[in-house]
């Protein structure tokens, strides 16, 4: 049953990155949109993401619950050593969610809108940035429980060059996913071109920041790149991801919305898969080598069995209704704009 739980954990992480990521990305796209088109972006974001965004963020809750029920030492270690970036990420989540809803439901549309927009766009940037930093800190091996000073214990692990570059990489991924997604939803030909252009730019940014991650790993003394390309499986995955870049640009040029989304999702899935394959079963790489893995940190017996059943039962309810929700709001509303 442990494998069922692990499968749900991996699925939730992937879906959070893809769906939640595209969601954060909408704010990032708004941030880099020229002011004359911003209102347009906002309307499109509201129409396409409004109905589904709360559901997209539930994956994070599922991840957290799986961690604290199934892998309590991991949850506890993350909470202790990455307390500060987690808090900053939470501030982002609070700011973003509330500003997104408030700006729509404020009955009077006045200068307050600018405040909401400001909070929404910047927290859309900050949240994935810290999520990335946390992910980077989890695999960099900088978490050192034996350290003595406040800085070494609670600050150094997540302020490494590597962690920060993973943060930047995550922000690019989110923006990229959102631009691809939004370009397919826009009906105005001119504005669609703008989104496609952004999708291309953000795709380039993703590739560059991906390279930055490898470079940062090298500088920080992690042999990540060598390990990924000398291992046949991860090498194949990375090659597939790189080749699909050509497909992506082709579909973007041809304005094939569904195919572009599929390829963009594929690329991000491949990146996560390569990293997942490389590090599995380790989840939290520790400085002293006592890594916390999905096996050695797992609860045993009934907690895992009941968690697995709860997840299976939950997904029977959640997945069909979630797909129906996303499907329903993909169609143009009938009779009203």
């Amino acid at each position: 049953m442990l494998y069922v739980v692990i499968a749900f954990l991996c699925l939730s992480i992937l879906l959070y990155l893809l769906l939640g990521g595209a969601d954060f990305g909408a704010g990032i796209v708004e941030l880099i949109t020229k002011s004359d088109l911003r209102q347009n972006t906002r309307m499109l974001t509201y129409r396409t993401i409004g109905p589904v965004w709360e559901a997209n963020h539930m994956w994070l809750i599922i991840i957290i619950v799986i961690l604290f029920v199934g892998f309590p030492p991991i949850y506890s270690a993350l909470s202790i050593y990455l307390h500060i970036p987690l808090l900053l990420m939470l501030l982002g989540i609070i700011g973003r969610g509330t500003a997104f809803v408030f700006r729509h439901y404020d009955a009077v549309k006045d200068d307050m809108q600018r405040v909401y927009n400001l909070i929404f766009t910047y927290s859309s940037f900050i949240t994935p940035f810290f999520l990335g930093i946390i992910a980077g800190a989890m695999i960099s091996g900088d978490i050192n429980p034996d350290a003595n000073s406040f800085y070494e214990l609670y600050v150094a692990p997540w302020t490494s060059f590597f962690s920060i570059s993973v943060g930047i990489f995550t922000v690019s991924i989110c923006g990229f996913l959102a631009a691809v997604y939004l370009s397919g939803e826009e009906t105005d030909q001119h504005i669609r071109q703008v989104f496609i252009h952004k999708a291309r730019l953000l795709n380039i940014a993703t590739v560059i920041s991906g390279a930055l991650v490898f470079f940062a790993a090298y500088v920080d003394g992690l042999s990540l790149m060598v390990e990924l390309i000398t291992e046949p499986v991860t090498l194949t995955i990375l090659i597939l991801a790189s080749l699909s870049l050509l497909l992506l640009w082709h579909f973007l040029n041809k304005q094939k919305a569904a195919a572009s989304r599929l390829v963009a999702g594929f690329q991000i899935t491949m990146i996560l898969l390569a990293l997942g394959y490389h590090y599995f079963p380790d989840f939290l790489v520790m400085h002293n080598g006592a890594n916390l893995s999905l096996f050695n940190a797992a609860a045993t017996g009934k907690p895992i069995t009941t968690l697995a059943w709860a997840l299976i039962l939950g997904s029977i309810f959640i997945l069909p209704s979630l797909f129906y929700l996303i499907y329903s709001f993909q169609k143009e509303p009938e009779g009203q704009a």
Binding site: H57, I94, V101, P303
Partner: protein, 448 residues
């Protein structure tokens, strides 16, 4: 402020903030579904407008509840990592089910808020109802988890290790039912009276009377019924606590010495040093009766509990008094409303009548906050009653005071914005939903 106190304050603040939004998120969908039902059945546009107006409020409250709930799921670990490391696998069951319920709620609210004129009207109505049902389920599950902290079950503690873990037994601990029942009813009382109070204020101003009177009635009927039945659930809780957590009951009642025929104290200020209570009204034997169903029964006092395990008496006692007082006032108002609805129909347009309900607007939420204070402070010094002390569970990271200050500011500004938004929503009611006296004439749709 030391780190433990800062961590406790931050947790109290976060929970105290979240509970308001959780209550509204749990209960408002039922008010909306009721109003929505009348609209679908009769085609009355006031009910349609009311449903839409409420749904905007709910969207604002739901998102605030959702983000503060997300925050809490992290805060459990950020502030109490040692507790979570042991407790996670044991009391994780309600949380994993709650994850599902919360997820379904988020999906259903997407359908409901964005689904006007898109779906079959009754499918749309059902999605609104599902928001309420899954919200209620979430609430009950989280309270069951809290129940486990008061009444640990589903494991054996041997040589410092938690073994033979049974998450199902942990979820159905002895406290879950009484706590969940009391909280669910409380959510209806609090939301009912708060909503009724706001609409009573609008009625007093005399604008959109047909609209606000429908709103007032739906809210006060839910709230009033809940307030009237709440004392029964309160009695169940008191008897349960007397059995399981005598220290908490003793603190609630400032009952320092074990006695037969123990008196019930009304009001009063406990003096923890001299183990006495000043200015209280005593009802002889009433505490014995309420706790054990017998006027002559012995009620355990704080003297039988080691001093280091005493909860703070003053806070617990005062919070309990506040909760009961608010509850009693609302019972009275509930009865008054039903009497008026039965015999004195014209009272609803009377100033004094409306003023009473306006004054009662915050009472339900004050009672909820006071009640949680009793539950949580009354459990101290334990985080897991009888097993782990709160001081042993706190994070080793220093400087929690800073995070407490930051989050106080965040929650303060969020509260201010939510009140501001609500004020604006209400102010816009006359413009968005004018009275449609003549239903045969096709009215203009309210602006989205």
């Amino acid at each position: 402020m030391d780190d433990l106190m800062a961590a406790r304050s931050q947790m109290a603040l976060s929970l105290g903030f979240h509970i308001i939004f959780a209550c509204i998120g749990m209960v408002m969908p039922f008010f909306m579904a009721t109003s929505h039902y009348f609209y679908l059945k009769t085609g009355d546009l006031n009910h349609k407008n009311l449903t839409k107006a409420w749904s905007k409020g709910v969207a604002i409250f739901f998102v605030t509840g959702a983000v503060s709930g997300t925050m809490l799921s992290f805060e459990l670990g950020l502030l109490w990592p040692t507790f979570m490391e042991h407790a996670g696998p044991i009391f994780g069951m309600p949380f994993s089910l709650e994850g599902t319920a919360f997820f379904i709620e988020a999906i259903a609210i997407g359908f409901f808020l964005y689904g006007w004129d898109r779906f079959n009207p009754w499918f749309h109505w059902i999605t609104g109802l599902i928001v309420g049902i899954s919200g209620l389920a979430s609430g009950i599950l989280v309270v069951a988890a809290n129940g486990w902290m008061n009444s640990p079950a589903g494991f054996d503690y041997v040589d410092g290790k938690y073994i033979n873990i049974d998450p199902i037994a942990a979820m159905f601990n002895d406290a879950w039912f009484t706590q969940a029942l009391h909280m669910t009813i409380a959510a209806f009382v609090a939301t009912g009276f708060a909503v009724a109070g706001i609409h009573a204020l609008m009625l007093l101003k005399g604008r959109n009377v047909a609209f606000h009177i429908k709103a007032f009635k739906i809210a006060i009927i839910f709230g009033g019924v809940a307030a009237i039945v709440q004392p029964i659930s309160g009695d169940l809780s008191a008897k349960d606590i007397a059995k399981r957590q005598p220290a908490k009951l003793a603190a609630m009642e400032s009952h320092f010495e074990t006695t037969k025929r123990a008196p019930l104290l009304i009001g009063g200020i406990p003096d923890e040093k001299n183990k006495s209570v000043d200015y209280a009204i005593e009802i002889p034997g009433a505490l014995s009766f309420l706790a054990h169903g017998d006027f002559d029964a012995t009620v355990k006092g704080l003297d039988q509990i080691p001093e280091e395990n005493h909860p703070p008496v003053l806070v617990t006692h005062l919070a309990f008094q506040v909760m009961v007082l608010c509850g009693m006032i609302m019972v009275g108002l509930g009865l008054l409303y039903f009497f008026a609805a039965w015999k004195k129909r014209d009272w609803i347009s009377k100033r004094w009548f409306l003023m009473l309900f306006i004054a009662a607007t915050p009472l339900g939420f004050i009672a909820v906050e006071a009640g949680w204070t009793v539950t949580e402070v009354g459990r101290q010094p334990w985080i897991l009653y009888g097993y782990i002390k709160t001081s042993e569970a706190v994070t080793p990271m220093p400087g929690i005071t800073y995070s407490f200050v930051v989050f106080s500011l965040v929650y303060l500004s969020l509260s201010a914005i939510v009140i501001f938004l609500l004020y604006r929503q209400i102010k816009m009611v006359p413009e968005l939903y004018t009275d449609h006296g003549n239903h045969s004439k096709k009215p203009t749709e309210p602006i989205q």
